[in-house]
């Protein structure tokens, strides 16, 4: 039995790093979007909601293709990259973060939006009569009440980013330590018949997925009980 390649764990750390950063960004960007979607009366808000949800339906190859073109020297990504002397945002860790944020956005926005919507007007009106500013009401009333939604969004966003494959394959360039994430590493091992390595990583992913879904279900049950 030969020893494992020393770089087998690198994609694991890189994937966790990518998923953590993506989740944090999504919570920051997704919360105002979810709030607006839950509270706004604008007639076109469902249009925005649809755009946010589109990655659920689109094959990753569609997003990957557009991202590859947009990130290249002829697209806005190239213009951005020229600020630091680059030509493209593809093949960078930042490029992957950007792709992941778009790809995983519906998984974060949707649960938070639902949680905000479930609060209803009443608690916020009460807060207003107690002379809380809208911002204060948001932080002290809405956010704590919507905590299960935030939790679900964060877990799903994290998990979905870990499971991302198609987009990374198309815009990543398979660079060890920068864009070679877990799913791509597994693909590589399978392609080159290194099944033991593929098994270790793939098995780990299966356990991870099991734990995520189990955690979600348990959390959901517990919050439901507390709510009652």
């Amino acid at each position: 039995m030969t020893s494992l390649p020393p770089d087998i764990w690198q994609p694991v750390w890189l994937t966790i790093e990518l998923a953590v950063i993506t989740t944090v960004i999504l919570l920051i960007v997704g919360t105002p979007i979810a709030w607006w979607l839950a509270r706004s009366k604008a007639w076109w808000k469902e249009g925005v909601a649809t755009v946010v949800a589109m990655p659920l339906v689109l094959p990753p190859t569609v997003l990957g293709f557009y991202l590859l073109v947009l990130m290249g020297p002829d697209g806005p990504g190239g213009a951005l990259a020229s600020l630091w002397g680059g030509r493209t945002v593809a093949f960078t860790f930042g490029g992957l973060v950007f792709g992941s944020v778009i790809y995983s956005m519906p998984f974060v926005v949707q649960p938070i939006r639902n949680a905000f919507a479930a609060i209803g007007d009443r608690p916020l009106e009460v807060a207003a009569t107690l002379r809380a500013s809208p911002l204060k009401a948001f932080w002290t009333v809405a956010v704590p009440l919507a905590r299960p939604g935030f939790l679900a969004g964060a877990v799903l966003g994290f998990a979905h980013t870990v499971g991302e494959f198609g987009i990374v394959l198309m815009i990543g360039g398979n660079i060890p330590g920068r864009t070679k994430v877990l799913s791509v590493a597994i693909y590589d091992y399978v392609e080159t018949s290194q099944w033991r390595e593929a098994n270790i990583l793939a098995g780990g992913m299966a356990v991870f997925a099991f734990l995520v879904i189990l955690t979600m279900t348990v959390l959901e049950k517990r919050t439901a009980r507390i709510a009652r």
């Binding site: 990130m71 290249g72 680059g86 493209t88 360039g173 398979n174 392609e191 080159t192």
Partner: protein
């Protein structure tokens, strides 16, 4: 009532006879796994093959390593056009390929390519520090990637270029990275850019890398398929060889058979 049934039966019978007749005696089809570098020529060969025999080729494109793995797992391919000679030989040895069916259909040419004129001048282009990204295909899974690494090693430039390399899963993706401008230059197959007029290229001299001997193998699943066998034969025909050469491959001398 009875008449209708008889009529129906007759119609049904006729349909069956027609259907079976055409598919068995005239035209069949066969599933072919094709190394991505051979995408363009095989499409043309498929058209010529169809015109000549009436058989259809159902083509799948990908990296040779990926196909090898799939074939060992019972993929429904009947012919495999690999980008190397090792994998067809291995399949033959493992009993997944038909004994004695392996032959070299093309010898591939590696080229360093840019979609812009005047960028690729020769091996010195690899040293150019202004070039931020050089695309290749995965050297572990695709022979053209392996040949690209060998070339850079022969030139003693590999350590210099390595930090700037980006990898496509197969040669088509390596080409795509250059085509979209995300990489300035890339090692691709000559066949992919044979028709390109605007870019610049350096056909890598053969002494810098081991010849990319591309072998075909008839797989066990295709052993009884007329279309698969006919295609293997057609690949050796002067007509097919002319197409292969047109795309920049070398063709091994024809064996008298």
């Amino acid at each position: 009532m009875k008449r209708i049934t008889t009529l129906k039966l007759a119609l049904l019978g006729a349909t069956f006879a027609l259907g079976l007749g055409t598919s068995a005696a005239f035209a069949g089809s066969t599933n072919v796994a094709v190394a991505a570098n051979f995408t363009e020529p095989v499409k043309e060969i498929a058209a010529a093959f169809k015109a000549k025999t009436g058989h259809d080729l159902v083509l799948s494109f990908g990296a040779s390593g990926q196909f090898y793995t799939q074939i060992t797992q019972d993929a429904p391919f009947e012919v495999f056009l690999s980008a190397d000679s090792a994998r067809p030989k291995k399949l033959e040895g493992e009993g997944l390929g038909v004994k004695g069916s392996v032959f070299t259909y093309a010898v591939g040419k590696l080229v360093l390519w840019s979609k812009s004129a005047g960028v690729v001048k020769g091996e010195e282009t690899l040293k150019d520090a202004k070039i931020a990204k050089v695309s290749i295909c995965n050297p572990a899974a695709a022979p053209y990637g392996q040949a690209a690494v060998e070339t850079m090693q022969s030139l003693k430039l590999y350590d210099d270029v390595k930090p700037r390399l980006v990898e496509g899963a197969n040669i088509t993706q390596a080409y795509q990275f250059v085509q979209t401008g995300n990489a300035e230059i890339g090692f691709v197959a000559l066949s992919q850019i044979i028709a390109d007029k605007d870019g610049s290229r350096w056909v890598v001299p053969q002494n810098l890398y081991k010849p990319i001997t591309q072998d075909a193998v008839l797989l066990k699943k295709g052993e009884a398929n007329e279309a698969a066998k006919a295609f293997m034969a057609f690949l050796k025909s002067p007509e097919a060889r002319a197409i292969i050469e047109k795309y920049g491959y070398e063709v091994p001398p024809a064996k008298a058979s």
